[in-house]
């Protein structure tokens, strides 16, 4: 594979983590993005010679932070950049720092980054555009094409969105449990919006490649890696995979819509369906009450005095099994 090929893949994979941590350091979206870009340029120069670092995201964070700090200092007092080796070389003290960025830090950092992008003050289109630009690093012309507007208009829209979220001042402290779950719900909704944007417009033109759908699936996967026990996120990823699996069959050769019943099912993506179903199965395990929650109420149920018999009318069953009264379940099968 070419250098640009594998480096591009590694940079794309590390981007959400790296930008999220840089955002925590610089507390400014533009500065974090610039620092990440600077780190990417250095990666393109040094990785082909030295090989990729063991932890690409941590490398990008450290180099980006150094470059970003230098930029801040330079703005205060003009002076030349230190030599390349000094900026890109991570000495032992920095390795210790890098090791300190563990999965838990990434989790809240990435969630914060995503949450900032889906701030309620933005509106759906603004949320999607900002997330695509900042989190996924999609080039501006491609976002503009997806929204059928000119590049200049999209640039303006993203600049306005950045200003709005800066004014909204999302706190940078580690969020509490309630705050975290609120953020997660907002972010999950944004990922689904992004997928829908791709589902309605993108698939018709790009078929199964539909970049917006692929990006939404990648973000849902990222969220689930960060929150592996959240049934909502399992269900979100499963929903996206199961819907996107049908993409190759949803439009005919003439570009017309093919309804579900008429679709050629051999075109459906079996791998995606299998993964989606595996996730549904995992999420369903969380549906019933957890063992700890289950025990006390069931005892209460058995101690409760028997209810008077329900009026039996035509069509209503006279006896309801006691278990269904104790633990109400969704009526759908």
């Amino acid at each position: 594979m070419t250098d640009e090929g594998w480096i591009g893949a590694v940079l794309a994979g590390a981007r959400p983590q790296a930008v999220a941590v840089l955002l925590r350091w610089f507390r400014d979206l533009d500065r974090a993005e610039e620092a990440f870009q600077e780190a990417c340029l250095r990666a393109l120069r040094t990785w082909p010679l030295n090989g990729p670092p063991r932890d690409a995201a941590a490398w990008l964070v450290m180099v980006g932070r150094n470059a970003g700090l230098d930029r801040v200092r330079r703005q205060a007092r003009e002076r030349p950049l230190p030599p390349e080796e000094a900026l890109s070389d991570l000495s032992d003290t920095e390795t210790a720092l890098v090791e300190g960025i563990d999965a838990a830090d990434y989790r809240d950092d990435i969630l914060r980054l995503l949450f900032i992008c889906c701030h309620p003050s933005l509106g759906a289109a603004g949320q999607i555009a900002l997330a695509l630009r900042v989190v996924s690093g999609v080039p501006l012309p491609r976002i503009a094409r997806a929204f059928l507007v000119s590049e200049a208009a999209m640039e303006q829209r993203i600049t306005r969105a950045k200003r709005a979220v800066a004014a909204a001042a999302v706190p940078f402290e580690t969020p509490g449990a309630v705050e975290r779950s609120e953020r997660l719900a907002a972010v999950a909704a944004m990922v689904y919006l992004l997928f829908n944007k791709g589902y309605t417009t993108d698939v018709a033109t790009h078929g199964a490649r539909a970049p917006l759908c692929a990006e939404a699936i990648r973000l849902a996967r990222l969220l689930l890696r960060l929150f592996p026990a959240e049934p909502e996120i399992m269900a979100l990823l499963a929903l996206l995979l199961l819907q996107h699996a049908r993409a190759p069959a949803r439009f005919g050769a003439d570009g017309g819509v093919v309804l579900l019943e008429a679709q050629d099912r051999t075109l459906w993506d079996g791998t995606m369906i299998a993964e989606g179903l595996a996730l549904v199965e995992k999420a369903m395990r969380h549906r019933g009450p957890a063992p700890i929650r289950r025990r006390p109420p069931s005892r209460r149920c058995t101690r409760r005095p028997p209810k008077p018999p329900r009026p039996t009318g035509p069509g209503s069953s006279a006896s309801t099994p006691p278990s269904s009264r104790c633990s109400p379940r969704p009526s759908s099968p």
Binding site: W6, A56, R209, L224, P228, A229, E275
Partner: protein
């Protein structure tokens, strides 16, 4: 000697691959598989779903605990494995090198197999 060749890679990277890139990698790997299979040394091959689909049962307590997610949070994840029957470690390393050329990045762990039962699960 039979060896398991375990494939590790950063999932964040492999999940960011486009469909074309994934297909290209799988195509190059299929060529290597063909070569190993032709020598009659290739056993079962599996590509695992992402670790987000994983469930872990911890048996170090009573009752055992069912957890969502992979066994360990690591920078690189176990993404698949091969079973090969080699003359020795050198040949297994050569196979892993060939696989690595077709699919750069990540790492291959070569583990001699102690007990092997081919099983009856069809492909």
């Amino acid at each position: 000697m039979k060896y398991a060749i375990l494939c590790y890679h950063d999932e964040a990277v492999t999940c960011a691959w486009s469909k074309e890139h994934d297909d290209a990698v799988m195509g190059r790997l299929a060529a290597v598989h063909g070569r190993i299979a032709a020598s009659g040394k290739l056993g079962p091959v599996a590509r695992l779903m992402p670790t987000t689909a994983a469930t872990t049962v911890r048996n170090d307590r009573e009752p055992s605990l069912v957890l969502d997610g992979p066994f360990a949070e690591t920078k690189e994840q176990l993404l698949g494995f091969y079973v090969v029957d080699c003359d020795g470690l050198e040949e297994a390393i050569a196979f892993a090198r060939d696989l690595g050329e077709a699919n750069p990045g990540g790492a291959y762990e070569i583990r001699p197999i102690g007990l092997y039962k081919p099983g009856a699960v069809p492909g």
